[in-house]
């Protein structure tokens, strides 16, 4: 196993996609952690003297039409966008894993019931559900947005995990655990889940990236957080104020570029991990 570990680490360090992905995500981590030291204003504070000022020595990324500092917005927006990805990713992954494990392991009518629920949620376009849910809540913070997204993003996870569980359940070590008197819960978490660890990591990354995109979509159609800031909100405000047409490039480029980079970084991370864990995909 020691050997095998090193093997995986060896491929992980050599995999270019993984390295690109890690570099991008590490960069944004740095922005989130070190950025607040340099942000001199709150996201919604009147920061500059002039509205829609291009980048200058006071406002490093310029200001919005409302005289807010875009650099500060970028720092705090990145923070809350990552927070949404993380929270919603955790919620979606946890629900999806639990339902998938139990439906697959327990089987029978329990499985049928859970899968019915899952399939119903899967065919309802989740963006429609998000719109309805979001519209009913008078004011929404980043956390509420995360919960809404996480609670609607799990069905495909549940289905994929269920089918993996079904196939792992057939393996001899599950039978051996059963005739050793091990409880079903223990079998799921100690025998089945560890064998899916790489898969779980990838599911989480996909949920993370998916949640960020969903949040941007919600922000864009005006159902984002009613207070606070996020990269999606920055972009939405820029577009609403015709920044593109008027040529205020400093207003939409930081947020637009960041979103694109974060999502592609996660994508690289995911394909890279896939190649590392799955030797058949290695192209060397």
């Amino acid at each position: 196993m020691r050997l095998k570990d090193n093997d995986i680490l060896h491929y992980a360090l050599r995999n270019r996609k993984l390295r690109i992905g890690l570099a991008i995500i590490a960069f944004f981590m740095l922005v989130m952690l070190a950025g607040p030291l340099f942000a001199r204003w709150e996201a919604r504070e009147r920061a500059g003297l002039y509205p829609s000022a291009p980048p200058n020595s006071t406002n490093w990324m310029g200001t919005t039409k409302m005289k807010e500092d875009i650099f500060s917005q970028f720092i705090f927006g990145t923070q809350s966008t990552f927070l949404i990805g993380f929270l919603a990713g955790c919620i979606g992954t946890t629900i999806g894993l639990s339902i998938g494990f139990f439906a697959g392991y327990v089987g029978g009518w329990f499985d049928e019931l859970l899968m019915m629920l899952t399939n119903i949620l899967l065919v309802i376009p989740s963006i429609a559900l998000l719109i309805i849910l979001a519209a009913y809540l008078p004011y929404r913070g980043v956390q509420i947005q995360s919960v809404i997204i996480g609670c609607t993003a799990w069905p495909w996870v549940a289905r994929a995990v269920r089918s993996q569980t079904l196939s792992l359940k057939q393996r001899g070590f599950v039978s051996l655990a059963r005739i050793s008197g091990v409880s079903p819960l223990r079998i799921i978490f100690e025998d089945i889940a560890p064998n899916m660890l790489s898969y779980v990591v990838m599911v989480f990354i996909l949920q993370f990236g998916g949640a960020i995109l969903y949040a941007v979509a919600l922000d864009f159609i005006g159902l984002g957080p009613t207070r606070g800031i996020s990269l999606g909100l920055m972009m939405q405000e820029a577009f609403q104020n015709n920044a593109l047409q008027v040529g205020y490039w400093w207003w939409f480029i930081p947020s637009g570029l960041s979103i694109t980079l974060i999502v592609s970084g996660l994508f690289f991370l995911n394909t890279g991990l896939d190649e590392v864990f799955n030797p058949k995909l290695r192209d060397q």
């Binding site: 001899g172 039978s175 050793s180 008197g181």
Partner: protein, 305 residues
């Protein structure tokens, strides 16, 4: 000790396709006896083994262990009680061990589940003694991962595991069919030793010669149905059911060339087996000698033999 009565299992592959994997099978295993279930692949042997191990629920029938119908008890404590006495070893040793853990985890689990009050050192000593008794060096296998050991070593570890529980009945499902020829005979002889110690065994195999070598009684299965059963010597020297005969004839013999095989005398039940009118209904076992039974189908009225 173990009595299986009218056991059947039907798998619902989908809402329409159904597989009758096991059909009305009855037999018993006495203390210290090795009973072989012999049949080609897909004949339902593993399904029977799994039902005895309570890994699969029977569709109908009873499994009595010590006069208690175990298909009716559902509680976890009674299940655990049962697994103290009835244990299994499976076909593929490499899938029986979880690849991401060390092999001695199977002993740690037994300790936790069955002997939580035993001190760690005392338990470790018992584990080592059990490993020695199946011909393994404890230091060589403890701490290893399953891909670092041979199939024969892994199966021995599992037999040692059953010994630690002091199991009374072992369900051995094709446990040597995936081993190298050189280690097969060792594991087989180990099973013989276990019997000397009073362990009963359900020995599942598709290999007639293995069944002959080890067992006291044999049960020949065909598509989930018992076709012939009885004392090993009797069944192998005088098979009566056409299916058992064809199975035995399919075994190449070392002493006779195929063109020198004597023509075999017709079985008195052959006509009934191949008469299409007699092909309806479930077969029933008919006694044709002391501990020798074969399946016959009841013919429709008017087609009496």
């Amino acid at each position: 000790m173990l009595q299986v009565e009218g056991l059947s299992k039907t798998y619902n592959k989908s809402s329409r396709a159904r597989v009758r994997a096991v059909n009305n099978v009855s037999f018993s295993v006495e203390k210290g006896q090795i009973v072989s279930l012999i049949g080609e692949s897909g004949s339902g042997k593993s399904t029977i083994g799994n039902m005895v191990l309570q890994l699969t629920k029977p569709s109908s029938g009873r499994i009595l262990f010590g006069n208690q119908d175990i298909t009716r008890q559902r509680s976890r404590s009674s299940l655990k009680e049962y697994y103290r006495k009835v244990q299994g070893v499976f076909q593929d040793p490499f899938s029986t061990f979880n690849p991401i853990f060390r092999v001695d985890r199977v002993f740690a689990i037994l300790h936790r589940e069955f002997f939580p009050n035993e001190a760690a050192e005392a338990w470790q000593q018992r584990v080592e003694a059990a490993l020695l008794s199946v011909g393994l060096t404890p230091a060589a296998v403890c701490g290893a991962y399953c891909h670092q050991l041979s199939g024969g070593q892994l199966q021995r570890i599992l037999i040692a595991r059953a010994l630690l529980l002091e199991a009374e009945l072992l369900v051995a499902d094709e446990i040597i069919s995936m081993l190298d020829a050189s280690t097969r005979i060792d594991v087989l002889n180990l099973l013989g030793e276990m019997r000397e110690r009073g362990l009963s065994m359900m020995f599942v195999t598709h290999d007639l010669s293995l069944g002959y070598y080890i067992s006291d009684r044999v049960i020949i299965l065909y598509k989930g149905v018992m076709v012939e059963s009885g004392n090993t010597q009797t069944v192998f020297s005088d098979p009566q059911h056409p299916y058992s005969r064809s199975l035995l004839e399919a075994v190449p013999r070392l002493d006779v060339r195929w063109d020198e095989l004597p023509p075999r005398p017709a079985s008195r039940h052959e006509a009934a087996m191949f008469n299409p009118d007699c092909d309806k209904g479930s077969p029933r076992m008919e006694q044709i000698g002391e501990d020798h039974w074969i399946a016959v189908r009841d013919c429709l009225p008017g087609t009496e033999l």
